[in-house]
């Protein structure tokens, strides 16, 4: 078990298997919002489902429509259980607030390097901790 400290962004606790993207994600173009599947070709997570995962990525990028996609994934029941970003980006944060998805950012160590896809992870968005179980 390993505990990483970071910045609490959105309240709540969630536990699940990690899905780690090494690259920044434009959720609008990189994800099928109906099925919650990563559709960016040649991406290391191509074809993976976001449903109930702990989604780990450096930051959101691109359009200001990211907030809408995060909210829609949640409403469609195919969204991630929690988000871990290294950098804060406004529209990703607002989307997570709106959808009430626990989120932690700016960890003391780069989560992209420390967390592996498939790791069982607990995110505490209220206290700003990530526990690799």
């Amino acid at each position: 078990m390993r505990i990483l400290k970071g910045k609490p962004v959105v309240d709540g606790v969630a536990e699940g298997f990690a899905l780690v993207s090494k690259t920044r994600l434009n959720l609008l173009s990189d994800v099928d919002k109906e099925k919650g599947i990563i559709i960016k070709e040649k991406h290391e997570l191509y074809g993976e489902s976001l449903k109930d995962k702990i989604l780990v990525f450096p930051s959101g990028v691109g359009t200001v429509g990211l907030s809408t996609i995060i909210y829609t994934l949640k409403k469609n029941g195919v969204g991630p259980k929690a988000l871990i970003n290294q950098e804060l980006e406004t529209t990703t944060v607002f989307g997570a607030l709106l959808a009430e998805i626990p989120m932690v950012a700016e960890l003391e160590e780069d989560p992209i390097k420390v967390i592996k896809t498939g790791d069982l992870v607990r995110v505490d968005g209220t206290n700003g901790t990530v526990t690799i179980l």
């Binding site: 200001v64 907030s67 829609t72 409403k75 406004t90 607030l97």
Partner: protein
């Protein structure tokens, strides 16, 4: 989570629900948002521009808007909306199916119920009566308007998403961080312009060219002695293709850059990039030089001001749009009304064109398709539309070239003519 930012007595009441559930909901989200980004307090905004207006937004969001209306949400400051997918006034004439109209209407009615001004545009700054002063705080969410507002008008806004801008409109406030603070508005990258920019097209091409390298960094242009409003609003729009910048400075032109030193607030540039004559000629080659038949011409990216609509009318007066060509001129509702009164709209109609508002060339296609089928070649007056136009090929030209293409049905730019520009 304990609230970190300072709130006034009034703001505490808002958060406690004394002004109803919608204001409370907005304040809850905005204070959390501010805490995450280290805002010390809220700032009052004087205007909001909100983009929950395209039918391509998700049904989940329509339900969210429904809930807000039921909570009694009202905007507290003058609020305009982003473009929709259709022209809500001219949809029949344009051959838009009634179903599309009804879907968009339902969405827009939610906004009207919340007290929006009936303007759905990418250029809220061309809505008459909305005079904003340097230093005014606003919450805007159209990426090109954000850049234009921060850079050219000296107003202050972050890159808002549609929901955060709407919450700010309902609360009349936004958390103070990012581009609301003067220290975050300093230039980061120096762009030395080593060629003479002569037209709106030149500015648009340069913005597109520099966008990818810029990322989120604020550029400072040195070497542009003068720039018109039209050149600068097209430069702003071109940056939205591949960058996430929030503003630019032009030394000696834009309000926060009287000198190079002022633009960088005394700091050194992180990076220096040249924009040369060779760059410009290369861009001409890619986005201008061709001799092809065209099917559509759209002038209005960003939405035109009255001066530009007058120019279109003057150029097309007494002429006819070529057979097989759809000629669209996009502007704000307010400018459209003024153009009607001035007779410009009638001239454009008589020539066989449409003066449209509430939407734009590519927004009409986005998610709903064109009622007239997919064109192969478009001519636009801005790189933003050229970039987002798929499938087919888009070309960029000034208003004069766009009108000529509409009349002849051809796009014809050859190298020799270009180098004389």
């Amino acid at each position: 989570m304990v609230l970190l930012m300072y709130l006034t007595k009034e703001e505490e009441k808002m958060l406690d629900g004394e002004y109803g559930p919608a204001v409370q909901y907005a304040m809850k989200l905005l204070t959390k948002f501010g805490d995450v980004f280290g805002a010390e307090r809220m700032v009052k905004i004087v205007h909001a521009h909100v983009s929950c207006t395209t039918y391509s937004i998700e049904y989940a969001l329509v339900d969210w808007l429904d809930d807000l209306v039921k909570m009694g949400a009202r905007v507290r400051v003058p609020t305009t909306g982003m473009i929709t997918n259709i022209d809500l006034e001219l949809w029949r004439e344009l051959g838009i199916p009634e179903e599309w109209y009804k879907n968009t209407r339902r969405l827009i009615d939610h906004h009207i119920k919340m007290g929006f001004i009936r303007e759905f545009t990418c250029t809220p700054y061309f809505v008459p009566g909305l005079f904003l002063s340097k230093g005014d705080h606003v919450a805007w969410c159209e990426s090109s308007a954000i850049i234009f507002g921060n850079s050219v008008m000296g107003i202050r806004t972050n890159r808002e998403c549609c929901q955060s801008a709407l919450m700010a409109a309902i609360a009349g406030r936004t958390p103070e961080f990012g581009f609301h603070l003067i220290e975050n508005r300093r230039g980061v990258v120096l762009v030395k312009v080593k060629t003479k920019l002569k037209s709106v097209t030149d500015f648009s091409l340069m913005g597109y060219h520099l966008a990818e390298d810029m990322g989120l960094r604020t550029p400072v242009f040195d070497g542009i002695p003068h720039a018109t409003v039209e050149q600068m609003d097209n430069l702003a729009a071109a940056f939205t293709t591949r960058s996430g910048i929030s503003m630019f400075h032009i030394v000696g032109v834009t309000p926060e850059a009287p000198t190079l030193d002022a633009a960088f607030q005394g700091d050194k540039p992180e990076d220096t990039i040249d924009f040369t004559q060779a760059d410009l000629l290369n861009l001409y080659k890619r986005f201008r030089e061709a001799e092809v038949p065209i099917q559509r011409v759209y002038i209005g990216c960003p939405h035109l001001n009255l001066k530009q609509v007058a120019e279109v009318a003057r150029l097309i007066n007494g002429k006819k749009v070529a057979k097989g060509v759809t000629f669209l001129v996009g502007t704000t509702r307010a400018v459209k009304r003024a153009a009607e009164e001035a007779g410009y709209a009638d001239i454009i109609r008589k020539a066989g064109g449409y003066l449209i508002s509430d939407t734009c060339g590519t927004a009409m296609r986005h998610s709903i398709g064109y009622p007239w089928g997919e064109p192969e070649n478009w001519v636009f007056n801005g790189m933003k539309q050229v970039y987002y136009f798929k499938p087919g090929r888009g070309f960029i030209g000034d208003i004069k070239e766009c009108v000529e293409a509409a009349i002849t049905g051809k796009w014809r730019v050859i190298k020799d003519e270009n180098s004389k520009r």
